[in-house]
């Protein structure tokens, strides 16, 4: 069976512009953040799969900065596949990010590293 090296593999995929999550071959359940085994069952049959990138904002806060630094959102996004992740919603004012908003993932480069962020889906912003 292929060896899973969670952080290493995740970051390598991201460097190729791919947002990957994990799925158990036996249960079909999706897993994020990446691990070596499925939570609870401990089954070691996780495989990497491409995330749909579809998500819904579950919770939101805006981190306030003193000018000239800009405020930014920190959100928890429920992925369409099930797992929840921390991220940021770009493309609108941080205070306009609302719980329940439909968002789409993209991989951007920030501070020299690839990162998954979200933008509102068409018509929502």
């Amino acid at each position: 069976m292929e060896q899973i090296r969670p952080e290493h593999d995740y970051e390598a995929f991201l460097a190729d512009g791919r947002f990957m999550i994990q799925r158990s071959r036996s249960s079909g359940a999706y897993v994020f953040y990446p691990r070596v085994a499925e939570p609870r069952t401990g089954v070691r049959d996780l495989e990497w799969v491409e995330a749909s990138g579809d998500g819904t904002v579950y919770a939101v806060t805006v981190v306030r900065k003193r000018p000239p630094e800009k405020d930014y959102s920190v959100v928890l996004v429920d992925l369409a596949e099930g797992p929840r992740m921390m991220s940021r919603v770009d493309g609108i004012e941080p205070t306009a990010v609302k719980i329940g908003m439909s968002v789409k993932a993209s991989v951007v480069t920030e501070d020299g590293k690839p990162l998954v962020i979200f933008t509102p889906k068409g018509g929502q912003a």
């Binding site: 994020f32 919770a59 939101v60 806060t61 805006v62 981190v63 959100v75 992740m85 921390m86 991220s87």
Partner: protein
């Protein structure tokens, strides 16, 4: 099926003390923890040589139980340095009760101290940054609790005014406590107009950053009466966890306090309706609301409405965080042990101007991480045995 043999009332806190509340320049965290411990031991005529159970977690010393035993010149039989953040101290009381009841030790000291305010000027973090969170620059721990508050407001209509009620009530209690770091008037409007830090929290929704130390001494009940006039008996204890990182918390409006509280109530044979005083770990205003709900003082979602109108302030319907809490009394990184000292003082009837009348049952509740770990103690007077 396992049989729960928790020694209800079999052990007691016979003494408790704080030290260096607010600012204690020039001291190391260990110095402060030792000062608080010696003060607590002095009050019941004990010395370090009597201590054979030692429970301590200092902020930046991963083996602080060894360092503290060395500092005190003792060789304890039972030690722990379990690290579940601010709830560590409630888990120590739980473990100490089991160890004392089993005869594994006779005198247990639980201690904490931190010089974070005068040494670092900010909260010292002892957690590993996650690559799945750190790049998004949440202002931790504030943003994690702010996310929980956003969810509570969305689901239950909780308002910023209701969050402010928690801060205002804490300040009113602090004004009755000479040891509290913050004194003076604080209004709902002050809170609402304060600078936003991580929505919906302004600085008034966030705990203080102070120095401070606390310690308690526990013995078996048979000895407790010889040491203290009115021991605070440990009737029940429970701890529970649901996650570490806030993104892994299944429901941001329900904490593991539901489980820790259930276990503690079951040991004690009492329910929320019996409790006279409630000391909750209020790192942020949302904590008080969540824990009042999760510990059964009001239905889920009603916490905001429950605290409105000064209901948890002095003279309100429920006495909550009577020392002024982490919001207005003291918050040296981990606050959990201070709730235990305050609950003990209320049961002993020695809390001065802020003493609540006829306290027989008090809750001391610790929270750790990012709502991650919850631990609940129920202390009772002799009348509850």
């Amino acid at each position: 099926m396992s049989v729960d043999a928790f020694p209800r009332g079999g052990t007691a806190i016979v003494s408790g003390a704080t030290y260096g509340m607010g600012e204690a320049p020039g001291y190391d965290s260990m110095d402060l923890a030792v000062h608080a411990s010696l003060k607590a031991l002095d009050q019941v005529g004990l010395t370090p040589a009597d201590v054979d159970g030692l429970f301590v977690a200092l902020p930046s010393d991963m083996m602080s139980q060894l360092s503290m035993a060395q500092y005190l010149g003792i060789h304890p039989k039972v030690m722990s340095n379990n690290r579940v953040g601010g709830s560590s101290f409630q888990t120590y009381a739980h473990m100490a009760a089991l160890a004392l009841a089993a005869g594994e030790c006779d005198v247990a000291v639980i201690a904490y101290g931190s010089n974070q305010r005068t040494s670092a000027g900010k909260l010292i973090s002892s957690t590993k940054p996650s690559i799945y969170q750190a790049p998004y620059k949440p202002m931790l721990p504030i943003s994690a609790y702010a996310l929980a508050a956003s969810r509570h407001m969305h689901q239950y209509g909780t308002t910023r005014e209701q969050l402010a009620e928690v801060a205002v009530a804490a300040r009113k209690w602090a004004n009755l406590n000479p040891d509290a770091f913050m004194h003076g008037d604080l209004t709902i409007d002050d809170c609402l107009s304060a600078r936003m830090i991580s929505d919906p929290f302004t600085k008034n929704d966030c705990c203080l950053v102070t120095d401070g130390a606390a310690a308690v001494v526990m013995t078996r009940a048979d000895r407790a009466k010889d040491l203290a006039k009115r021991p605070a008996y440990l009737l029940g204890a429970g701890s529970a966890t649901t996650h570490m990182d806030i993104a892994s918390m299944a429901d941001l409006t329900v904490s593991a306090a539901v489980e820790s509280g259930k276990r503690a109530y079951a040991h004690a044979g009492v329910g929320p309706e019996d409790i006279d005083v409630v000391e909750l770990y209020d790192a942020f205003t949302i904590n008080t609301i969540l824990f009042l709900e999760d510990l059964g003082f009001c239905p889920k979602g009603e916490g905001g409405r429950f605290v409105a109108g000064g209901a948890i302030a002095p003279g309100g319907k429920l006495a909550v965080n009577t020392n002024g809490g982490g919001l207005s009394c003291v918050h040296p990184g981990m606050y959990g042990l201070f709730t235990m000292v305050e609950a003990m003082e209320q049961v002993m009837g020695i809390a001065g101007e802020r003493q609540v009348k006829d306290v027989d049952l008090a809750i001391s509740h610790g929270n750790g991480g990012f709502l991650s770990s919850q631990a609940t103690l129920i202390l009772g007077s002799e009348a509850t045995l």
